[in-house]
């Protein structure tokens, strides 16, 4: 990373080869392997994160002492990634837990609880209104 005068940019070439390999590996995992869906999803997501790391470190030089910008670029990328995880996982957590529209799975019991909960809430609101009037 420090030597700017090399004719052949070894690091870029390695990075490129790795990203092609990882892409093929991900495609094979998803379309060619016999893993269960859960395993496929988690392993290809990990492969994607590795690829993002390759881009950041080998192509974008996220930590580079010449920049005089210290760890700030890295810091922004890291916190951005954390927030991205919060956004995606958080939204899924909030918007699907006890909320899903498939009625055949393990969530059935959850739904029942939810429903009865809703009823009692409505009753409470009703009471409130009576008092109000």
């Amino acid at each position: 990373m420090t030597d700017h005068n090399k004719r052949i940019p070894t690091q870029h070439v390695i990075g490129f080869a790795l990203s092609i390999a990882l892409t093929l590996l991900a495609a094979w995992t998803a379309l060619g392997s016999n893993l269960s869906t859960m395993w496929i999803i988690s392993s290809i997501m990990i492969l994607a994160v590795i690829q993002a790391g390759i881009q950041l470190f080998m192509f974008m030089h996220v930590v580079e002492s010449d920049s005089h910008n210290g760890h700030v670029p890295w810091n922004m990328m890291f916190h951005g990634a954390v927030l991205a995880a919060i956004l995606v996982a958080g939204s899924l957590f909030v918007m699907s837990f006890g909320f899903t529209h498939d009625h055949d799975g393990e969530n059935h019991e959850q739904h029942e609880q939810q429903d009865s909960g809703d009823h009692s809430d409505m009753d409470m609101e009703g009471d409130g209104e009576h008092e109000g009037h």
Partner: protein, 645 residues
């Protein structure tokens, strides 16, 4: 489209508004022409890239918006004073609470604080301008044009009426047809660009442009809170940008994100809105904490108690602010587990906030307090904000929230934190830094009158709302039942007290402009602790003739002890400054018309002006203007006259 569809018709109050807008505009045009001020306006203000002038424009616009939002509030309070009032009809009432909320948060609280940051932060860290002065001007014009777009909705096309939260499906095309809701979307989108740019700009300024040797943990607390706020802005505003864009796609281009057809998910809007909305709350409160810290230190004449704890508390609050968004819609029914998680994270926020309260109390303890108006606002903040905070913890308990949700208890809570926090801070900060901005103080006697009217009015207005809320009065109803009348009358009286306080404050500005003594020293209060007070008043356009080396907290205290200034003649060098430019206002003007076209779904207009805006960006890309240098002789001349040497 007919002209009577374009303009809002049939409401006497709105006709009154139209007439006053027309009169004020004509008056301004006349004055500018009569006194031949057009050239001055363009050269000195509209094309400026000076952070101090941009800050002043932010604050003036924010005060105008405070007036607009305040008038909305008083109209609501009149309507709610008695049962079956006929002052506003249901539709008009809906529009007014929507615009009141949006204007106060987006176009008053944020610009006011950003205005103060603009003026003060570079001065506090010993910088000569922002990192990107051009971008700073762009931010201001994007905010102003966004605010104008939102504000004209009440005379042209009709105001949005789905609440400042604009929940779908109510805010969707099916249930809110017409341009009203589009004004909300485009107005916020346009000003959001500027807010994001300001966040980036301030972060780079603070990280890269501090005075020589000033360490992060030697920065003034207001600068710290600005840095953390900018961090939140950078990470929260894109969420709003996307949410607004998705709703725009829904409404104008027929997408199905938040609709009831096509398996859309209306509650996803609430989810996205509050993922931005909760951090937004901290965007408007953290700088307020910073202002209070500065004011309290200065007038308690002590170093801040627990500086490091204060900084870490701010950082912790910023982190937690991204983890609590669901507490705004506990009643959605996401299930007990989800609600419990967010209930706990919500209550955790009380911990660092409590730390800060004790820091302020610790600073005040055994100090000799100077009772200025700025300090009175800060002292009034502490107990008032605690009331708001404690009721916030009550709301944070998910099960109890089912009772409080959407009642006046909630309304009282967020007004207690936002007014006692943000608005008090705006007044406090404005009074405190006023001499630095305008070269004279605000009259203290009149200031105290406005303080007492506003603070007493505030408590009279909002304290009863906790109880009327517990009595079951829901928010956003346009008429009340007789049982709620007594508390509502008290509340309305309080609102007018606050209105009187604001009027007195405006009078105070005019009176002080005319009669206050002009400042001779840079350290107006005599107790300044941070670098902004080391500059002469009025501040030269380059801020610092020479940059002092900083090796401690409260930099100016040390400079004063050592008898050093920011004008060391033997160290003078030419100063590099940016040129003024008309590009930002023109670029944002084009985007304003593009947004206006989109509001009415006139695609030809939107596309044409979007292209014009893009052309302006190309012009900017080819612009290799490198600014100019202020020569040493000129710096000497300016400094000598400013410092009376």
């Amino acid at each position: 489209m007919q002209l009577d569809e374009f303009f809002v018709t049939g409401e006497p109050l709105i006709y009154g508004g139209m007439v006053s807008i027309a009169l004020v505009t004509i008056a301004i045009l006349f004055i500018l022409t009569y006194f031949k001020k057009w050239g001055w306006l363009w050269r000195e203000w509209l094309t400026t890239v000076d952070h101090k002038k941009i800050g002043v424009m932010y604050i003036l616009s924010a005060l105008a918006m405070l007036f607009r939002g305040g008038v909305d509030a008083m109209m609501m309070r009149v309507q709610l004073a008695f049962p079956n009032m006929n002052f506003l009809n249901a539709q008009h009432y809906d529009e007014i609470f929507t615009t009141h909320g949006t204007v106060m948060i987006i176009f008053m609280a944020m610009p006011f604080l950003i205005g103060l940051m603009n003026i003060i932060v570079p001065l506090q860290i010993g910088a000569r301008d922002f990192a990107f002065p051009y971008l700073n001007a762009l931010s201001f014009w994007s905010f102003l044009f966004g605010a104008m777009l939102f504000n004209i909705s009440f005379v042209i096309g009709g105001s949005p009426d789905a609440g400042w939260t604009s929940y779908t499906p109510l805010a969707g095309a099916a249930m809110s047809p017409g341009p009203g809701q589009n004004f909300y979307l485009m107005g916020l989108q346009l000003s959001g660009i500027g807010t994001l740019a300001t966040g980036i700009n301030l972060m780079v300024t603070i990280l890269k442009m501090r005075a020589p040797k000033m360490k992060m943990f030697q920065m003034p607390i207001f600068t710290w809170s600005t840095l953390i706020t900018s961090f939140i802005i950078v990470f929260a505003f894109p969420i709003l940008t996307v949410a607004l864009a998705l709703m725009t796609l829904d409404r104008i281009f027929g997408a199905q994100f938040f609709t009831l057809t096509g398996e859309g998910m209306p509650m996803m809007w609430a989810n996205l809105f509050w993922m931005w909305g909760h951090p937004e709350v901290y965007i408007v409160i953290l700088p307020a904490f910073g202002i209070f810290s500065e004011v309290i230190c200065t007038f308690a004449r002590k170093q801040l108690f627990g500086y490091k704890a204060m900084v870490w508390a701010i950082i912790l609050i910023a982190g937690l602010s991204f983890l609590v968004w669901v507490h705004h819609f506990f009643t959605m029914g996401a299930g007990a587990f989800v609600n419990s998680v967010f209930s706990i994270s919500t209550m955790l926020i009380a911990v660092p906030t409590g730390v800060k309260i004790f820091n302020w109390l610790g600073t005040l303890y055994k100090s000799k307090i100077k009772n200025t108006v700025a300090m009175m606002w800060a002292l009034a903040f502490i107990p008032s904000f605690v009331i708001g905070g404690v009721t916030g913890v009550m709301l944070g308990m998910a099960s109890a929230d089912y009772q409080f949700h959407n009642t006046y208890f909630l309304v009282a809570h967020f007004h207690y934190v936002l007014i006692a926090g943000t608005v008090f801070a705006c007044f406090s900060g404005l009074v405190f830094w006023y001499p630095k901005m305008f070269g004279h103080k605000l009259n203290e006697r009149i200031g105290k009158w406005s303080f007492w009217f506003f603070v007493i009015g505030f408590h009279v207005c909002f304290f009863p709302q906790y109880f009327v809320g517990l009595d079951g009065m829901p928010r956003r109803v346009f008429t009340i039942i007789p049982e709620w009348m007594p508390l509502n009358i008290i509340s309305t009286i309080g609102a007018f007290g606050m209105g009187a306080g604001f009027a007195i404050f405006v009078f105070c500005i005019l009176y002080s402009y005319r009669y206050s003594e002009r400042e001779k020293s840079g350290d107006s209060w005599g107790d300044g602790r941070t670098l902004e007070w080391a500059t002469p008043t009025p501040v030269p356009f380059y801020n610092f003739a020479t940059l002092p080396e900083i090796d401690s907290q409260d930099a100016y205290v040390k400079l004063k002890e050592e008898g050093r200034t920011t004008f060391e003649e033997d160290k003078l060098e030419p100063i590099h400054m940016p040129n003024n430019t008309g590009q930002p206002i023109i670029m944002m003007g084009f985007l304003f018309f593009a947004s206006f076209g989109l509001v009415f779904e006139w695609m030809w207009m939107a596309i044409a002006f979007l292209i014009a805006g893009l052309i302006m960006m190309v012009v900017r890309s080819f612009d290799y203007d490198e600014g100019y240098h202020v020569e040493v002789d000129e710096i000497k001349r300016i400094e000598r006259s400013a410092r009376g040497l």
